[in-house]
């Protein structure tokens, strides 16, 4: 009897903590559907008159900010993730399978990149991008992401490839398969769990990144969604409802993916960090 009571109390306490923790997100969700008068007067109450005006006005902005920046973000995230996966899995495969002093050193050299914050390299990166005429372009940003996140990909893949038996490569080689073919046809399909972790991590980082798109793409040629919010949010300083609607729409893809693939998210994040 006592045990049951205490477990109920425990559950109740957990609910209370969670509600307090959830408060800021509740604030966003609830205020999207209120008119601006009620947002200011009664930010925490339920909407008295349910309205979609906030979402509509964000979606029908004359500059189409939501559409263009959402498209830019999707494109940049997808392409960055792809190039990082292709490049880092191949590097990791080569370095793990050719286990010599040299390749171990090269691996350490790559992993050194995990420690470098973007603020440190951003000034010279801008110089480099100007020199190769890629400044203010999406290609430039994607190339930068590739260089910056390849170490992380190698870190994840090199741990995983070690668990795949070498006999597979040898069997394929005896059957006359070239190393490249062996890798893409036989090894890469086995790296699925690791690939999904890499997609989740780098996808999140790139989608949510703020400083790099702000500086590298610049204001002229469209922005990513995160930098876009930052640029226009000043216009909404009086209209919280629209501001929340904007942030909600910007985070919607990520939230949706997170809720759908929650187990994968959590697994990816813990496997990635627990290994190190």
């Amino acid at each position: 009897m006592l045990l049951k009571w205490s477990s109920k109390a425990h559950a109740l306490f957990t609910v209370c903590v969670t509600v307090v923790f959830f408060l800021p997100l509740y604030l966003v969700l609830i205020n999207i559907f209120k008119d601006s008068k009620q947002v200011m007067g009664d930010p925490l109450g339920f909407p008295t008159s349910f309205t979609l005006a906030n979402i509509r006005s964000v979606l029908t902005r004359p500059d189409h900010l939501i559409y263009t920046s959402m498209w830019n973000s999707t494109l940049i995230t997808a392409l960055s993730v792809c190039v990082v996966i292709v490049s880092s899995s191949m590097v990791a495969y080569y370095l793990v399978r050719n286990d010599s002093k040299k390749s171990r050193l090269l691996l350490v050299f790559f992993l050194f990149g995990l420690m470098v914050p973007t603020t440190i390299i951003l000034i010279p990166v801008v110089k480099v991008l100007i020199a190769v005429h890629l400044m203010s372009t999406k290609t430039g940003l994607i190339a930068f992401y590739m260089g910056y996140y390849v170490p992380f990909g190698i870190f994840m893949y090199s741990g995983f490839i070690r668990t795949i038996p070498r006999e597979l490569d040898e069997a394929a080689a005896i059957d006359g398969s070239s190393p490249l073919r062996t890798f893409w046809r036989i090894i890469f399909p086995l790296l699925g769990p690791c690939t999904s972790s890499v997609i989740i991590f780098i996808g999140l980082w790139v989608w949510n990144d703020f400083l790099n798109p702000l500086i590298i793409i610049g204001p002229i040629k469209g922005t990513t969604i995160t930098a876009g919010i930052y640029r226009v949010i000043g216009q909404y300083s009086v209209n919280w409802g629209e501001m929340f609607a904007m942030m909600f729409l910007a985070s919607l893809p990520i939230i949706f993916l997170y809720l759908a693939l929650q187990r994968k998210f959590v697994e990816g994040i813990t496997s990635g960090s627990l290994k190190g």
Binding site: A11, L27, L122, P124, R166, T226
Partner: protein, 329 residues
């Protein structure tokens, strides 16, 4: 030229050390039956290196290593993009940095934020992990909610909290309901740094929760059974089993949080933009402002070098210190 010497060396080695060496030797993309053909191996080795490594290495060198070298070089110059050409001025920038009280302040602010976030997020993450480490839909829902801020952009989190924390914001209203008078969380110079730290704790706590949950679930249950037989109570179980075996989780959280808070930028820009005045300016914000608003890129580079050295030293110290605490079982 070094490539030309390599195959002969490898063959010699494998002859001397025999079969045992095979695992450690160079070219295992090839089966051992093909290994003796020196020339073919050389070709294969270089083409394989080219196919598999060159692209990653090239882009990594271009966008990470070369910028680091350039950054160190710029830090010894008076580089300013508005003027054509620049010259090496030796350690002048570093001497200026020593005298720059604003930069010293930025280091202090960053250290305070990093310290608070690391300790508070670890502690709250551990408590919440212990709270939700049960099987029921209530705890599943809590876990989902605790982790949600982690997937949001710091910019979005910053904006949400800036509305919570303004003078007539939600937090002060809530405090008013229970009869407390709030303060201006983001404009009061003696509080603003702690407000920023609190927001970052709110966002990163979920990460710690998840890592601690994974660590808790990896602790073998026979240890608890043994403790039960020996008559341990719950406190003793936590003190002597759970806490020591949580060490790997603590290491990961601490390193991740320290590294990410030492470069904290997004939250600060959105919440206060370094204000009021420069009270809440962090190192990263100072670097970006100096480089891209004041155009003093040489000077900003010297700050970046200092930040890099700080992060390097701290992560080495923390990793070695915390690794020692981890126990084998």
């Amino acid at each position: 030229m070094p490539n030309g010497n390599k195959p002969a060396l490898a063959v010699n080695k494998s002859l001397i050390k025999g079969k045992h060496e095979e695992k450690g030797s160079d070219s295992l993309l090839l089966p051992s039956s093909l290994k003796s053909r020196g020339v073919k191996k050389l070709n294969n080795k270089t083409t394989n290196f080219f196919l598999f490594v060159s692209h990653g290495l090239f882009i990594y060198l271009t966008f990470v290593i070369m910028p680091i070298v350039l950054c160190i070089y710029y830090s010894f110059t008076n580089f300013n993009p508005l003027f054509k050409g620049f010259k090496v001025i030796g350690f002048q920038n570093y001497a200026d940095l020593l005298k720059d009280s604003a930069f010293g302040h930025a280091i202090v602010v960053t250290c305070i934020i990093a310290l608070i976030v690391t300790i508070a997020a670890n502690a709250m993450g551990l408590l919440s992990a212990l709270l939700v480490n049960y099987k029921s839909w209530v705890y599943n829902a809590s876990r989902t909610i605790f982790f949600t801020p982690q997937v949001l952009s710091p910019v979005v989190v910053g904006f949400i909290w800036s509305i919570m924390l303004t003078d007539d914001g939600v937090l002060n209203k809530l405090l008013g309901y229970i009869g407390l008078s709030g303060t201006s969380w983001l404009a009061n110079p003696s509080i603003v740094v702690y407000s920023i730290a609190a927001v970052i704790v709110w966002q990163s706590m979920g990460f710690c929760t998840v890592v601690f949950l994974a660590t808790l679930q990896s602790i073998p249950s026979d240890l608890y059974e043994a403790a039960k037989i020996d008559g341990c109570n719950r406190r003793q179980k936590f003190r002597h089993i759970t806490y020591p075996l949580l060490a790997p989780g603590i290491t990961i959280n601490t390193v991740m949080l320290l590294i990410s808070t030492f470069k904290v930028f997004d939250h600060v820009v959105v919440l206060t933009n370094g204000g009021p005045g420069t009270t809440s300016e962090t190192i990263s914000l100072k670097i970006i402002n100096t480089a891209f608003n004041e155009n003093q890129m040489g000077y900003a580079s010297s700050m970046a070098v200092v930040l890099f050295a700080l992060i390097g030293v701290i992560s080495i110290v923390v990793v070695t210190g915390l690794k020692r605490r981890e126990v084998e079982y």
